[in-house]
């Protein structure tokens, strides 16, 4: 249709225009974030993308004079621990719901699904009371515990495991493999794309999580990056250049995670052991 030198169809022009506008809207704040991170405090409100005297001083200050590195490591640990726990428990529960018949299976599934409909803002109060009563306030475990399992992940994994033919599992049962190893060695490798997607969602969600970490932490040593950066914003003045610098550094792990895992998603589901 649109091959060699034929005029580009109007439909494509319209689509590209919308995509372009979308891209600009998405990218502008990020570009300004990077731009601001190279500016001095008094240049922040100048619109120039590249300031007249760009500086690395914000980055140096961030690592030398604030607890940013600590927060960064906290965030990484919390996000990693949560992601690993979510990958394990959500797929275990999803697998059980998809592949085993037992009384009350539907009810359990509906209950888990219903947790998806409650917004975090409503959950933080019971979480807080729970954390307080268990003495988990201002601790890493307190930061992590609400996220060790997610209804969304259970739902996602259940859907994917339902696509795994029972014959694989039966073949492994005949082979004399125990049920837990069937889960880890046969079923899990077949849902790698789903696991990658879930890993990305969970990691990003926890990396950027703000409300719960803000509520549960009170000492600066266990702040996560978003909470730490927010502390730069004081009652009387905000250190915008520092917030922007910290945010710029904070995008790095998300980029790395995404670049590392996306090929597993894109590669698609590996099937082929069944008839081709």
């Amino acid at each position: 249709m649109t091959d060699n030198k034929a005029p580009i169809s109007p439909k494509k022009i319209i689509i590209w225009t919308f995509l372009f506008i979308g891209a600009v809207i998405m990218m502008t704040p990020i570009i300004f974030m990077f731009s601001a991170s190279f500016k001095y405090n008094d240049q922040i409100y100048e619109l120039a993308l590249i300031s007249s005297e760009p500086t690395l001083s914000n980055y140096i200050y961030l690592f030398e004079n604030t607890e940013f590195l600590r927060w960064f490591l906290n965030s990484i640990s919390v996000a990693l621990a949560t992601t690993i726990s979510v990958l394990f428990f959500d797929s275990l529960v999803g697998y059980t719901l998809a592949k085993f018949k037992f009384k009350g299976r539907k009810i359990v599934f509906v209950l888990i699904l219903s947790t998806l409909m409650i917004p975090t803002e409503m959950l933080v109060i019971p979480w807080y009371i729970l954390a307080r009563d268990l003495g988990l306030l201002d601790s890493y475990i307190g930061l992590i515990f609400p996220g060790i399992m997610t209804g969304f992940g259970v739902f996602l994994m259940k859907q994917f495991f339902e696509g795994v033919p029972d014959d694989y599992l039966d073949a492994a049962r005949i082979d004399g493999v125990g049920e837990f190893r069937i889960f880890t060695d046969v079923a899990m490798p077949l849902v790698v794309p789903a696991l990658s997607a879930l890993a990305i969602f969970t990691f990003l969600g926890n990396w950027t999580a703000f409300l719960w970490p803000l509520i549960v932490t009170s000492s600066a040593e266990i702040y996560t990056v978003p909470v730490g950066l927010a502390s730069f914003s004081g009652e009387f003045q905000s250190e915008w250049e520092m917030i922007m610098t910290g945010a710029a550094v904070a995008t790095l792990p998300t980029l790395i995670i995404f670049l590392f895992l996306q090929r597993y998603i894109i590669r698609g589901v590996i099937l082929g052991g069944l008839k081709g």
């Binding site: 039966d170 073949a171 492994a172 082979d175 004399g176 493999v177 590996i270 052991g273 081709g276």
Partner: protein, 341 residues
């Protein structure tokens, strides 16, 4: 040594109120080293029965023993069986070697012993060059071999096959059929083989079990069930092309309403006198299908379609009148319940 005995096996699916009977009070004795083929129409419970023997499905009632050992409550791995699935069910993320070794590793077998066994089986099945390929990189026939290989390395005393050849094309199916037969002669184990292809049943089986709605219709050698079908269902099921069923003329036998005759027992009635015991009928040709060595002739006989298998090439046009002769000595008579008369 592995005789398999099924005593009063029943299987129902679903809750008590809406229970669906799939297998009903089934008894079957399978001798050691016997090649048993289970045939029957789709949904008659063949796979269910096989899966119950394998231990993949609970038994609602009855008892299964392998080698005088009741296995009702044994795990599949403890039953000394191997199962070949219709869709092969090779683990897609493992190469051929790992697919075959997976069960042995789970049994914590010595590494060198595993290697030795896999190599041996691979040599028998001629799949040695495929060891490091994944299932997706194999052809249908190669996958089938690997699936059989995975069963063989377990060195089981009973092989269970669930329609292993149904995903292959006709030519490959014929050659794999011959190989399975050869395999049985080499490994000398009991084989229970499910198919709905009656050519497979006839060529492979020591005894055929014909199943319908979860009830055994007949058990017998291929020749038994072909020459002496227990009822109209078996008569129609075994033999290809299918047996013809026509309304029996009055006075043939008491209570007989259907006459069954195989296509190969029908000849063209020429002008010469008919051989003894033949009965002439008149019809109209509807279709001719020349197959080379023989011709299949479909004839409309007062509203019923009859197929005749004529040796050699026979040329006729649709609409031609034709006279056929039925060999009444080879005809089967059935009453209205489909029972033999």
């Amino acid at each position: 040594m592995a005789a398999v005995t099924l005593s009063n096996i029943s299987k129902t699916y679903g809750e008590k109120s809406a229970a669906k009977m799939i297998i009903e009070d089934l008894n079957l004795d399978i001798a050691d080293k016997e090649f048993i083929v289970l045939v029957g129409p789709s949904g008659c419970g063949k796979s269910t029965l096989l899966r119950m023997i394998a231990g993949l499905e609970d038994i609602t009632k009855g008892q299964i023993s392998i080698d005088d050992r009741v296995v009702n409550n044994l795990e599949p791995k403890d039953r000394d069986i191997a199962f070949v699935f219709q869709n092969y069910a090779l683990y897609p993320h493992m190469n051929v070697y790992k697919n075959m070794a997976f069960g042995l590793r789970a049994a914590k077998m010595d590494k060198r012993e595993i290697e030795y066994r896999v190599q041996q089986v691979a040599a028998i099945l001629e799949i040695e060059e495929l060891m490091f390929r994944r299932p997706a990189e194999l052809s249908g026939g190669q996958r089938q071999r690997v699936a059989i290989g995975r069963a063989m390395v377990r060195d089981p005393s009973v092989f269970l096959f669930d329609e292993p050849l149904s995903n292959l094309d006709a030519k490959l199916r014929a050659s794999m059929r011959a190989e399975i037969k050869k395999l049985h002669q080499t490994v000398k184990t009991t084989i229970i083989y499910v198919t709905h292809d009656q050519v497979e049943a006839m060529t492979l089986a020591d005894r055929i079990v014909i199943l319908k709605d979860g009830i055994i219709q007949q058990i017998g050698t291929p020749m038994d069930v072909y020459n002496d079908p227990a009822n109209q269902f078996v008569a129609g099921f075994i033999g290809s092309p299918e047996m013809n069923f026509i309304r029996a003329p009055k006075g043939v036998a008491d209570g007989c309403i259907t006459l069954g005759i195989r296509p190969e027992d029908i000849i063209i009635a020429g002008d010469a006198p008919l051989p003894a015991g033949h009965k002439k009928i008149k019809g109209t040709v509807t279709v001719t299908e020349p197959l080379g060595a023989e011709t299949l002739l479909s004839v409309d006989y007062s509203g019923t379609e009859i197929t005749a298998k004529i040796p050699g090439l026979y040329i006729a046009n649709p609409g031609d009148d034709i006279k056929l002769a039925l060999n009444m000595q080879k005809a089967f008579l059935f009453n209205e319940k489909g029972e033999r008369v």
